[in-house]
Amino acid sequence: MAKKTPLLEVTDLHVKVEGKNILRGIDLTVKAGEVHAVMGPNGSGKSTLAHVLAGREGYEVTKGGVRFQGNDLLAMAPEERAREGLFLAFQYPVEIPGVSGMNFLKSALNEVRKHRRLPELDAMDFLTLAREKMRLLEIDEKLIQRAVNVGFSGGEKKRNEVFQMAMLEPRLAVLDETDSGLDIDALKIVANGVNSMRSPDRAIILITHYQRLLDYVVPDKVHVLAHGRIAKSGGRKLALELEKKGYGAFGQSDASVAA
């Protein structure tokens, strides 16, 4: 059997933020079709990993590398990574006053489509597609007529992230604590959205503090991040184990795993 190139290959990744070592040698391989959960207590480096993958400034890679679909991810500008199919659902989605969600997302989608050599969508086609995805995520149509994230509730912001993900159809989606701050109904809707995105040629990385989300989105692999390293990897059971024992076993016990 021919070996498939992994979608994402993180090798011995070391990252400094403001002179402090945050990631100290991450190894992570994600193949198409897989859902990985990266769990860990606050300060373990979860969000740093997400930001470095997406190309945010202010993170210094001191060692190691990342390949995305076989290419050097770290050499790409943030917008190139996005166009290549890497999507980050933000932990704190950003407000953009005066710019309607529709305008924002249509421009973004057309950039991605241009990159994939697909024809750009006009307003009508875009709206048809958007409506279909909004139904799926139980999002009020008015949401994309409003300015991006402005005045959105916490739940609306997170759902909007998942909606954008559904529209942009990335190869790799990284969800940075998308579950935090959601009540159970909103969590289910977000989980449904994520599940609907599961496909043999797409991978999803769920970054989360709690195992609660994993009741609804069942991961293929679970990794525990502690002190900037992956301390343990395993299957679904690892998350349940964590729920019982907490992160204490990994030398970081600042919070419990159960919601």
């Binding site: 996005a82 710019v99 997302l105 950039e111």
Partner: protein, 484 residues
């Protein structure tokens, strides 16, 4: 890596490479001798074969000007201007009054075509009548006959002096007196040409009227004068656009615009100002020192100013409304962009005199690079203006950390029934916003453009459709290279 192409683009635009109107037209010109004195004033007046009263008015203005000093209260800095080192009259030859476009120098037609303003009979802009002013004179006016069918007069100012002497004499200087301010007085002495519009009673002008100003000659000041009279119950929408070549010397543009709206009349005046802003080090560029004022003389009249100011090294202008007629309405919508070393001190004056007069001021100041952007506005409610209302909203957007946004409102209320509101905000395009957009696949430039357009939406909406798109593009160009 993509960085390289972005970097190149950034450098290109930062060095002024993106000012695509910076070319010079090589054409035979007729100049007045350099410098300014009474003979020059007489020379200009004679060139235009003006009646005595107008020459006297010019001379009166000139003598007044000699007694005045340049205003220095604006928040702008520049070296002293040597008013004797400039040409006050420059016109492409031949300078006779033109009867048809066939007589216009083909080089001029090509110039305007290059600027996106075709003047040839076959190619005129649909639905827009254009008066093209090149340096000191109007070179062509389109759709004149069609407008004449409605009784609308749209011609160059010089032509109006000959054909409409009563109207010109009645209204010239009636809104901006010859003694108004240093630059307006200078203009009154040496103004060369401009546009004249008269809309008769009850007529709704069927198309946009537009003047396209072009500075071409070197060391030349441009002093045009626009006079628009909307008679009772009429309506007109007027737009002006401006460009100039790239030169290392600063050039002075001191225009005067006077609007008069009689009973129930409405004037909508839009400006897309894109004079050469100077290079990235602040060398060269136009000094845009302009006096624009409208008088709502009649009851229920309305004057609405919309301006998109992206060019000029320095912008000093305050399009204002004098709300004399009861129930009259004044509006001012402005977007002012300062990038690199540009400076803008701009705003409006709303003088409420009549009862139940209303005014709205919405301004958006955008600063990038080392740009300095000041909103200066005056809202004055006089004792007789019972029930007057004003709403002012001034928003500033900063891009980068070397620029400045300033708001200087003056509010004077002398009637206790007046209602005046002032809101102001300052915001900055954050790294978080840029990263968020880029993570969705947008380039930094596109992200800024999107955020800026969102910021300006309230004002852009006020522009006539045909020009809103152009204005949006202009904003993009002006801010290109503003992210490192």
């Amino acid at each position: 890596m993509a960085v390289s192409s972005d970097t190149v683009k950034t450098i290109e635009s930062a060095t002024g490479g993106d000012y695509k109107y910076g070319f010079v037209t090589d054409i035979d010109m007729d100049f007045a001798p350099r410098g300014l004195n009474e003979d020059i004033v007489r020379f200009i007046s004679a060139k235009k074969d003006e009646p005595d009263w107008l020459l006297e008015w010019r001379l009166k203005s000139y003598r007044r000007w000699l007694t005045m000093t340049e205003p220095r209260w604006a928040r702008v800095r520049y070296a002293t201007i040597d008013y004797q080192d400039s040409y006050y009259y420059a016109a492409p030859k031949p300078k006779e009054l033109l009867n048809s476009l066939d007589e216009v120098d083909p080089e001029l037609l090509r110039t305007y075509e290059k600027l996106g303003i075709p003047l040839g009979e076959q190619k005129v802009l649909a639905g827009v009548a254009v008066d093209a002013v090149f340096d000191s004179v109007s070179v062509a006016t389109t759709y004149k006959e069609k407008l004449a069918e409605e009784g609308i007069i749209f011609c160059s100012f010089s032509e109006a002096v000959q054909t409409q002497p009563e109207l010109v004499r009645k209204y010239l200087g009636s809104v901006v007196p010859y003694s108004d301010n240093f630059y307006a007085t200078l203009n009154s002495a040496v103004f060369s040409d401009g546009s004249f519009v008269y809309i008769p009673k009850g007529v709704r002008c069927p198309m946009e009227l537009s003047t396209y100003f072009r500075i071409n000659a070197e060391n030349t000041g441009q002093f045009e004068r626009t006079l628009i009279i909307a008679d009772a119950g009429s309506y007109v929408s007027y737009l002006e656009g401006c460009t100039a070549p790239m030169r290392d010397e600063n050039q002075l543009h001191a225009a005067v615009v006077e609007l008069v709206a009689l009973d129930d009349a409405q004037i909508k005046y839009s400006t897309v100002q894109n004079w050469y802003p100077g290079d990235k080090d602040g060398k060269g560029g136009i000094f845009n020192f302009v006096t624009k004022r409208g008088a709502c003389r009649g009851v229920n009249s309305k004057i609405s100013w919309t301006q998109i100011e992206t060019g000029s090294a320095i912008t000093w202008k305050y399009p204002s409304c004098i709300l004399q007629g009861d129930n009259s309405v004044g509006e001012f919508y402005s977007v002012a962009v300062t990038n690199n070393h540009q400076q803008a001190d701009t705003g409006t004056k709303m003088i409420h005199i009549g009862k139940n007069t209303r005014s709205t001021i919405i301004t958006k100041g955008i600063s990038a690079g080392k740009g300095q952007n000041t909103y200066r506005g005056q809202v004055k409610i006089l004792p007789g203006a019972t029930g007057a209302r004003n709403y002012t909203q001034c928003d500033a957007l900063l891009i980068g950390d070397e620029c400045g946004g300033h708001t200087i409102p003056y509010i004077e209320v002398r009637n206790p029934t007046a209602h005046v509101e002032h809101e102001a905000t300052t915001s900055k395009i954050s790294d978080d916003q840029l990263f968020y957009c880029m993570q969705r696949g947008l380039s930094a430039e596109d992200a800024i453009s999107m955020i800026v357009n969102g910021f300006c939406k309230q004002v852009l909406m006020e522009l006539p459709m045909e020009f809103a798109v152009e204005a949006q593009k202009l904003l993009d160009i002006s801010l290109e290279g503003s992210v490192g």
